[in-house]
């Protein structure tokens, strides 16, 4: 079988009956891929293609750098997260007293806070996106695949979730469990999966009438296998695009919540919080807006380029 043959016919011949993947496919960037029919070879293939994409690799490097700096940086800097420099309230970037990127209106070192904020923003993004990915993909694929009455009920449930204002969920969670940041992650993730589910369902609806699925059916393959081995992998392109859209959305959503006073509590901070604080000061102390914005924007740029690269690498059809 050559790579030039259409992906559909390829899957059809060897996809279903073979056991998925070898032991630990190297560098599988996404849990959904694990069930991919071509297993090891596909993952290897994808990595090879990804490593040829310079923008994506540069982004990956930068992203790793940002993550490392956020994790390690605060230990190297002389100032603490909540430590106040009583001699420097809202000063601009300076080498004096090691306020390399200035201080905030409370006299706290901005670089230190941006790095701590990065930890929060990135962890929110990771946890929430992962939650939304897992729930959304499974839910959407099952709903779309089973179709009919089940699909109808499952999608009505999504409608209900949509029609439920998100803020109530968060408020309720905070009432019942107190202000636990991890529950906020989960809450965002539990809301974001809705979009994912709809998109995957849409893809599945379109895919399931294609020949290779019907063929698998005819061969007596179980439904669960068809969903996890055929439908999900084939919906992977839009899903990855959507994940790269979800991560920044989650970061923004977190900041919107913080903006409303429902997010992280002081002295913790996040890029979103820092940005919304900076907006008020943009005319008089622009660095307070610029510094966290640059970190945020850079992260989002990288995530997007990486997402594009991943898609190109993962989906043979787009080559």
């Amino acid at each position: 079988m050559t790579t030039e043959s259409t992906p559909y016919s390829g899957e059809q011949t060897h996809g279903a009956p073979l056991p998925a993947g070898g032991p630990n496919p190297p560098k599988a960037p996404d849990p959904a891929i694990e069930g991919a029919p071509a297993g090891e070879s596909l993952a290897k293939d994808a990595w090879r293609r990804l490593s040829q994409n310079r923008a994506a690799m540069l982004s990956l490097g930068l992203l790793i750098a940002i993550i490392v700096v956020c994790i390690v940086g605060p230990w190297l800097l002389p100032w603490g997260l909540a430590e106040v420099d009583w001699n420097a309230f809202g000063t601009g970037p300076t080498l004096e007293n090691a306020h390399y990127l200035g201080t905030d209106a409370n006299g706290r070192d901005l670089l230190t806070r941006v790095l701590y904020g990065g930890r929060v923003s990135l962890s929110v993004a990771l946890v929430a996106s992962f939650v939304s990915l897992v729930i959304g993909v499974l839910y959407g694929a099952i709903s779309g695949y089973l179709g009919g009455r089940v699909d109808n009920y499952m999608m009505r449930f999504v409608d209900i979730m949509y029609s439920l204002p998100f803020m109530f969920l968060v408020i309720l969670l905070m009432v019942v469990f107190g202000r636990n940041i991890f529950l906020i992650y989960a809450a965002i993730g539990a809301v974001e999966w809705l979009d994912m589910a709809r998109i995957v369902r849409g893809q599945t609806l379109a895919l399931k009438r294609r020949e290779f699925i019907e063929a698998a059916h005819a061969l007596g393959v179980r439904d669960t296998k068809i969903v996890t081995r055929h439908l999900i992998p084939n919906a992977i392109g839009p899903v990855i695009i959507y994940v790269t859209l979800t991560v920044p959305k989650v970061i923004l959503l977190e900041s919107f919540l913080s903006f409303l006073g429902l997010g992280v509590q002081e002295p913790l901070t996040s890029w979103g919080v820092l940005i919304s604080e900076g907006v008020d000061m943009m005319e008089s102390a622009p660095w307070m807006l610029l510094v966290p914005s640059i970190f945020l924007a850079l992260t989002l740029f990288c995530l997007n380029f990486l997402g594009d690269g991943l898609r190109d690498a993962l989906d043979p059809r787009t080559r």
Partner: protein, 546 residues
């Protein structure tokens, strides 16, 4: 959709007023064309960025400053505010107070509602009965409790007709109090006590404040009300002092975002922008807006309430004292806020009328001495950086509250206090306080009347702060009660000073600063004065000649 309002306005006018060429008729007609930005060019129109959408324009269902700014323009009281916030005759030309301080007799002037009906003593009686009706649920009704039977009426035990208020004749009103009350006239200057047009309420019911239904007694009448968009009032030709009112039209915009209000003031769209300079923009505003920036005193206190209930860490007086000692109030007022707030070592704001004297005993100590004493007290209480005291500090969501809380937490840290900051929206924050479910909580107390009563009463028996914080002191209660009934200003002040000192000696709370008001007023506007009550009657505004 032109001309929703205007039916309440009257265009017959005899004015030949001031230097304005245009008769008021034209100005009023101008207000009818809704989309039009202004009436005839010469009309004096004032655009105000007013903080928020009013919850109501019924003067007895409002209590926010952004609401009373409008209702005061529409409804005149028996006793009114001058431009400097002091009391002056309103609908009552004069009044007498009996020697025992328990009977007030008001003589009403000849005045009309904007529909031409006379304003009578019966309208005043009607209003005072209504404000106490349980179903009106007025939030300041307790300020009228000194009137005979008022409390019983408000709690539903007695009928409104039992109220100790009588219309002797159409122009004479008499009010009977159960005990002399030093600040009672102040309560009558509040919008709650505005005489109300009984004839309109009887006809229009709950919708009586809507444009088209409502009539007014104040210098302005309501022409248009678009929720969340704008409220337009135009001058009332039947106002008793209409000839002296220069402003033809005022538009109130409910702009709750301070930066948005600031922007629209800078573009010249707004003539007055209330509370539109947050601390973060203050330095910038001082450099760039010049004389438009108006900073004035305010009878309001920013403090941290302590929870003194048994079993709470702050039930220990030594800890309360140490926390008070360690807070550098000047850093908060100068470095963090920088708007001219006064660092406070007392409870009742210093610019309140009849304010009590006295302050914390440490007010004049150096910071080093204070910290030494604080550290010693904490050690005595069993806390040190090695054995920290974990404290929760609640504040409601606002950038400035956050900054202050962060700074205070940092100031306490050397004492061995680990603070958990808890930020919540106002509804949750105040519910938390009410339920006593806090350790330290940010509180802002704003006087409704220019008198220490509101402040002192809060910590007295049954007062809101007393209930939340668990502060109980029989002698304090007795002093506050005695001061309320005392009519001699000197003696009263002494009583209040003694009361406040008990509170301070107990370190029952942590005062931070006396508020200031920060507003923007275009140089085009004259007659706008800063004052501790933060009242700025529109009827006194003049257009400056340039």
């Amino acid at each position: 959709m032109a001309a929703i309002g205007g039916r309440g306005t009257h265009y017959t006018m005899t004015s030949k007023h001031h230097k304005m060429i245009s008769p008021r008729t034209l100005a009023a007609l101008g207000s009818l064309t809704l989309g039009a930005l202004a009436g005839p060019a010469q009309a004096f129109s004032v655009d105000i960025a007013n903080g928020a959408e009013p919850g109501s324009l019924d003067p007895q269902k409002t209590n926010g400053v952004w609401e009373t700014r409008i209702t005061r323009a529409l409804f005149e009281r028996l006793v009114s505010y001058a431009a400097d916030g002091s009391l002056e005759p309103g609908l009552a030309e004069s009044w007498e107070i009996s020697d025992d301080g328990k009977t007030y007799t008001f003589h009403l002037r000849d005045a009309e509602w904007s529909d031409g009906e006379p304003i009578t003593a019966d309208d005043a009686v009607f209003a005072l009965r209504r404000v106490l009706e349980p179903t009106i649920a007025n939030q300041n009704a307790n300020l009228y409790y000194p009137i005979v039977n008022a409390r019983a009426i408000n709690t539903g035990e007695k009928d409104g007709s039992a109220l100790g208020v009588e219309a002797v004749d159409t122009h004479t009103l008499r009010i009977h109090l159960t005990q002399p009350t030093a600040w009672f006239l102040q309560a009558l200057a509040m919008t709650e006590a505005s005489p109300l047009p009984e004839h309109v309420l009887a006809k229009a019911g709950d919708g009586w404040v809507e444009p088209g239904n409502t009539v007014s007694s104040g210098a302005f009448t309501l022409s248009q009300w678009q929720p969340q968009s704008q409220i337009v009032v135009t001058s009332n030709s039947r106002y008793y002092d209409a000839d002296e009112v220069a402003v033809d039209k005022v538009v109130f915009y409910p702009i709750d975002d301070a930066n948005a209000a600031l922007n629209r003031f800078r573009t010249g769209e707004m003539d007055i922008a209330y509370s539109s300079v947050p601390a973060s923009r203050f330095d910038w505003a001082r450099e760039n807006l010049g004389e438009a920036l108006r900073v004035g005193p305010l009878t309001a206190e920013y403090f941290y309430m302590f929870n003194l209930h048994d079993g709470q860490p702050l039930a220990d007086k030594r800890v309360r004292e140490a926390l008070n000692l360690a807070v550098r109030r000047d850093v908060i007022t100068d470095q963090i806020l920088g708007q001219g707030q006064t660092p406070s070592f007392w409870y009742v704001p210093r610019n309140t009328a009849n304010t009590p004297q006295g302050e914390f005993d440490f007010a004049n100590l150096s910071m080093d001495e204070r910290m030494k004493r604080a550290t010693a007290l904490m050690r005595e209480a069993g806390y040190s950086p090695a054995h920290p005291l974990h404290l929760r500090l609640n504040y409601n969501t606002l950038e400035d509250h956050k900054k202050i809380a962060v700074a205070v937490a940092a100031m306490w840290k050397p004492l061995g206090v680990e603070v958990e900051l808890i930020n919540a929206e106002a509804a949750v924050h105040y519910a938390t306080i009410r339920e006593g479910n806090f350790e330290v909580a940010r509180y802002g107390m704003v006087a409704t009347i220019n008198d220490p009563f509101d402040f002192l009463n809060a910590y007295a028996d049954n007062g809101s702060a007393s209930q939340s914080s668990g502060y109980h002191d029989a002698e304090y209660d007795a002093l506050v009660a005695a001061s309320t009934a005392e009519l001699d200003p000197q003696k009263r002040r002494q009583l209040m000073t003694r009361a406040q000192q008990r509170l301070l000696d107990d370190y029952a709370l942590l005062p931070l600063y006396d508020y200031v008001s920060v507003h923007l007023v275009s140089p085009r506007i004259q007659g706008w004065e800063s004052n501790p009550m933060d009242v700025h009657p529109l009827r006194y505004l003049q257009e400056s000649e340039q």
